[in-house]
């Protein structure tokens, strides 16, 4: 396997959300607006990349019977770093993300990469693999975030896209209305389901 495949494979072909269905719970919760999804994505990229790197660095001195605990300690370390930095420099964003930053610790995606890849390979591929897995996660989060914010709020990055004059008013009740469903978590389920279906259709065509 070429080095770059450690990164590129995970973006679409082996996307952790679409193929392994990992990391779903945060994908539902933090995709209501694009800037929230983006902050979460960057946090997960940082955590997964560096925890994979460090799990790989100490792989030869890690006793097998405490390896999970060691992985968890490393993951928690990076998650707390992210959490503290957000609280210092992006305070209002940290309030919006609330518990979900802390919950990166239990995101199966991060530990999945540490256990199934990072502990078996040398640091550089492990690092790329971690970054790749999280980038694939980020891609899906951003797609879902864009769809939900556009249809749910008529804006992107909190910047209004749909002009105010298109909206329904008491005088013109038949005009455009934002979809309330998109502001609720179940909509992320439907969108992720649709993307999974799309990936499967495309993957089948490739096989033929």
């Amino acid at each position: 396997m070429k080095l770059r495949h450690y990164y590129t494979d995970q973006i679409w072909k082996n996307n952790q959300i679409l193929v392994a269905i990992l990391g779903i719970c945060s994908a539902l919760a933090v995709t209501i607006k694009v800037n929230v999804a983006l902050t979460m994505s960057l946090s997960v990229i940082f955590v997964t990349g560096f925890s994979s790197l460090f799990v790989s660095l100490i792989r030869n001195i890690t006793p097998p019977n405490v390896r999970m605990i060691a992985q968890l300690a490393i993951i928690s370390l990076f998650v707390i770093i992210v959490d503290q930095v957000l609280k210092a420099f992006l305070y209002e964003m940290s309030l919006t993300l609330s518990v979900f930053v802390g919950l990166i610790i239990t995101n199966c995606l991060v530990m999945g990469r540490a256990e199934s890849m990072a502990k078996n390979v040398s640091p550089l591929p492990a690092f790329l693999d971690g970054l790749g897995a999280a980038s694939g996660y980020a891609l899906i989060l951003l797609i879902v975030g864009v769809i939900r914010e556009f249809f749910g709020f008529g804006s992107l990055f909190d910047f209004p896209i749909i002009p105010k004059s298109w909206y329904a008013t008491p005088e013109h009740p038949d005009r455009y209305v934002n979809s309330n469903l998109m502001a609720l978590a179940p909509s992320a389920f439907f969108i992720i389901g649709a993307i999974i279906w799309l990936r499967n259709v495309l993957a089948k065509e490739e096989d033929l």
Binding site: A29, A70, A73, I80, Y91
Partner: protein, 300 residues
Amino acid sequence: MAGKGQQFTSGKTLLFVIVLCFTCALVLSVLADVLRQPQLDARELYKSKQLLRAAAILSDENVFLLNDTFASYDRSKGTLIPTPSQKERARDRDILTLFETRILARVTNDTGQVLTFEQAGLDEEAYLRDHAKYGFANLPYKLVYIVQPNLPPNQLSPDLLPYGYVIPINGYGLWDAIYGYLGLKADADTVLGMTWYDQKETPGLGGNIVLPEWQNQFKNKVIFQKSPSGTTDYARAPLGIKVVKTTVQETYGKTAPAASAVDGIAGASITVVGVNEALRNSLGPYRPFLIQAHQQEASQ
């Protein structure tokens, strides 16, 4: 995986775990120490913003407000000037400057008299720190913020009729304590705004109390409940804003209590009860102060 054929004795394993934990702990404690001040500053700024929001000086999108129209800060004069067509986000530095010039922290006693911290013989910093957790309403000296009018700093004086007041509110939600600010107009009755700056309610349910769409309902409500005939008995009227189940329209229609009620939040019954109690319990002890402030406004 680790060392094919390599043996890990219990001693080695224990050493590994200790070294790993110690390293992680060391990194985190250094980080926590470095970030302590920026975190405290960020929290203070956030609280100041929420207080200005309650006082209707800052919109929920961080744009300055002057009598409900957008405004921008004139640095040379130190006042807000109306710019209704411009929606310019306020800078953090201007927010803090405006907070320092226009918001005065004062205390009020059981007779409703307003005193500075020196007059009350209190150390402001220690007072705010010691009572932040359980609130100020039941202390002999209660905290109240006076919002000064939009005038250049050299023309401001404590004798002027204030633009409004902000009263700290605290109580208990479903999971933890909730803390907020209630802004009142100079008549000490009509609400300028209500914000919650610290809460740990369920995101998406009780946590919706921080949503501007919900908080905006408090605007122009009255905290002294009107009698059925529409008059207000300041000495005896129940104090607070009631968050009803379903909607105000459905619960009270156009009757008098509707002026002191806002719509409920679906799926957040316990948080809503907490909000009701917080408002009632935090406002009650301020009644003498509110009556005096109301009379001061009526006499001018």
